[in-house]
Symmetry: C2
Subunit: 431 residues, 2 copies
């Protein structure tokens, strides 16, 4: 009987090819750390003949990925096909049913079916590993589940999508607008041809739901994540934020509040002197706040073949060494079914940008609405210079208030006839 | 037979008390993640009666710490006494000899005796855990040994001493000088009454030697670390560095170069726009560069009761779950006895600050020495304004050269009769 950890890989695209290359290039190091060789034995992919830069003819081939999970000569199945349902889900379930541990980079699958998968993995007594699903090469799942295991984590937040962070960084550096920078990002390969999953915040939300579950020991609840993308951020918002001492970042934020879980992915303002504000370009970064360790931050490449393969291979090393951890840190039966914290209860400061007709009384009208909804103004900025259409920008930073009040105020402000477009609202996160 | 993980704690000072408090406050979370309760059963300390804010009378008491390691009702020994030899070393060896895993926060012990301890632990098949020894609450040992296990790491560097980072940050923010800021740091509790271990770089060097071994799979070699503290950094160096676009940080840097290991702890200039330059105050941060994942950074509190206890407790959870990892990532027999990279071979840019007599020909003399030692000047700055003593500062930033050439040049420059004090040399690290 062999001592090798015999691996099947389903899906040999960018990440799959990167994994095969990594396992070869670093075979000696990996064998040392894993205590035995890690060997790819069989693969499955959509297109057998495609040029991938790695030779897959050496491995056994299966047309049907689920067949990998039924082979006797396979110890662990790596799922890199993607998609929250269909073949990917079928494969990982088949693997667990057949007594094989699973490693995956599939955040959608876990965000949507994590609870059921954790129960199945526990029932079978098998590891289900997914380090690569959150923040690419940053070992954040390990850091939270194991490194910070003795802490009660109260909040986790981070830059979970490199595409958005690149776009926001570039918008600030160049003063250009969203569409323009997005086009560049696509040409540079930092954004997909269809960027909606990234810029719309769904990708970050998948990762946030996973992090929340691991941090709080709560059942994963992707449907409860409030999601807002960066498509409406304009270069003037970035410039105003700068003026007030803030940066705009697309953040995923999850908090444990009195037994409820708040989860939101939103572009927001963070003070320029905080560590998270200083994370630039395509990097991801995650901050955890916990009751004994305090605040820790993990930063690194959140995507790409090398970083993602690094995380997948680390999971394989754990399996080779039999370092087992329940999928979400706790046995699935101990995960709490915490309810969602109502978003309208959120307390915080807000940034409101209005485009108003440049005529007397407008500021008085806006101020009156804020007064009537009991929102106090911390700072207000009105530019003398208006554009050709006879409108002028007004920016308000509020004192702390609730989201419910802000929403009520915005509805009334939008109804004023001096307001020429839907108000722009951004949350301020005071970490 | 009990399912509890029964713990003995030797040394109940700040960290020991913090650990006892943490294990109590977070008992439910920890039991969930560990799969069983973690229970302190016995303790030993220098002074039994001292007020610690936690009641230790509930635990069995041993006058002799080594007696903890011989008790049948103890599963794991936590060493928090400190000191590289004497009772701490005796205790951990006795524990291993008696079949008990060890958890420690003792960086000096590991830096000086790590190789022998790893062999003993391997021989006995026992975990020897020390997450708390490096960068306090940041789970960097786990991140490197497990999270990045599939990578070949080529370089690791970081801010490994919070006291020094606090002092350098404050010096920059306030323009005040070293002695002045050190006094403040002592009053705030950020620096010890005897600060020499911290400001002299030895504390950071202990941590660096451990990181180097874990990153490169090389036998730990503390004696090979080049160590320079921050005592000679003046506020003018910080101001000049700023002018050239740099920050001054005390960094530990370890590199794997052609099968040799370079290790140095030195104040150095890093570009102001790099992530490591932006780490301020008492935080620690570690950057790893590896062949597939690329660059990752881990930042957080490097000292204090809570963060250190968090790391110790995480090691205990690993032991409770039987997640085992060789002490330095590889079995001790596989660690390479890499030789030390000769420091004089280092290639890089350098910062030289001279105090010169304000008279004709001085710059010509200095330039001639640099030319004769084949060092080219990237930037030079001479201030018109000199002090009352008739001397003026001259700052040179060199192009890339070797440390050997720089040393030769400095020797000749210092011998010039227009040079009124020993030249100030700082390395520039271009990460």
């Amino acid at each position: 009987m062999t001592n090798d950890l015999r691996i099947a890989v389903a899906g040999v695209g960018t990440v799959g090819s990167g994994l095969i290359r990594l396992l070869e290039e670093n075979a000696d190091v990996i064998e040392g750390r894993a205590g035995r060789p890690l060997v790819v034995r069989a693969v499955s992919a959509r297109n057998r003949g495609r040029d991938r830069g790695v030779d897959i003819d050496r491995f056994d081939w299966e047309d049907n990925p689920a067949a990998l999970a039924r082979r006797d000569d396979i110890d662990v199945v790596v799922e890199l096909m993607g998609g929250s349902d269909g073949p990917a889900r079928h494969l990982v379930e088949t693997a667990l049913q057949n007594g094989k541990p699973v490693v995956t980079a599939n955040k959608a699958l876990i965000a949507e079916h994590g609870a059921a998968l954790a129960r199945l993995a526990d029932e079978k007594g098998l590891p289900f590993a997914y380090e690569a699903a959150v923040a690419g090469g940053i070992p954040i799942i390990k850091a939270v589940r194991e490194g910070l295991s003795a802490n009660r984590i109260s909040r986790v937040y981070g830059i979970l999508n490199g595409t958005c962070n690149y776009i926001l960084t570039e918008m600030r550096n160049s003063g250009r607008d969203f569409d323009d920078v997005l086009k560049d990002a696509q040409e540079l390969g930092y954004a997909e041809a269809d960027p909606s999953f990234d810029v719309g915040g769904v990708d970050a939300a998948h990762k946030l739901a996973i992090l929340a579950s691991v941090c709080f020991g709560s059942e994963i609840d992707f449907a409860a994540v409030g999601i807002e993308g960066i498509q409406r951020i304009s270069s003037v918002d970035i410039a105003y934020a700068d003026e007030f001492g803030y940066r705009i970042k697309l953040l995923g934020v999850a908090e444990w509040i009195d037994g409820q879980v708040a989860q939101r992915v939103q572009p927001c303002l963070v003070r320029a002197d905080t560590p998270i504000a200083k994370v630039e370009g395509v990097d991801n970064a995650i901050v955890t706040e916990a009751n004994h360790v305090g605040r820790t931050m993990f930063e690194g490449p959140g995507a790409g073949a090398g970083p993602t393969a690094s995380a997948v291979a680390a999971d394989l090393v754990d399996i080779a060494r039999r370092r087992n951890t329940p999928m979400f840190g706790l046995p699935s039966r101990r995960l709490t079914a915490a309810s969602a914290y109502p978003p309208e209860k959120r307390r915080g400061h807000y940034y409101i940008r209005l485009n108003v007709l440049d005529r007397p009384g407008v500021i008085a009208d806006v101020s009156a609405v804020l007064r009537d909804t009991e929102i106090s103004i911390e700072q207000m900025l009105q530019r003398a210079d208006h554009d050709d259409g006879g409108t002028a920008p007004v920016v308000v930073i509020t004192h702390e208030t609730t989201e419910a009040r802000i929403m009520a105020a915005l509805q009334r402000i939008e109804a004023l006839d001096s307001i020429v477009e839907t108000p722009h609202l951004l949350r301020i996160e005071n970490f």
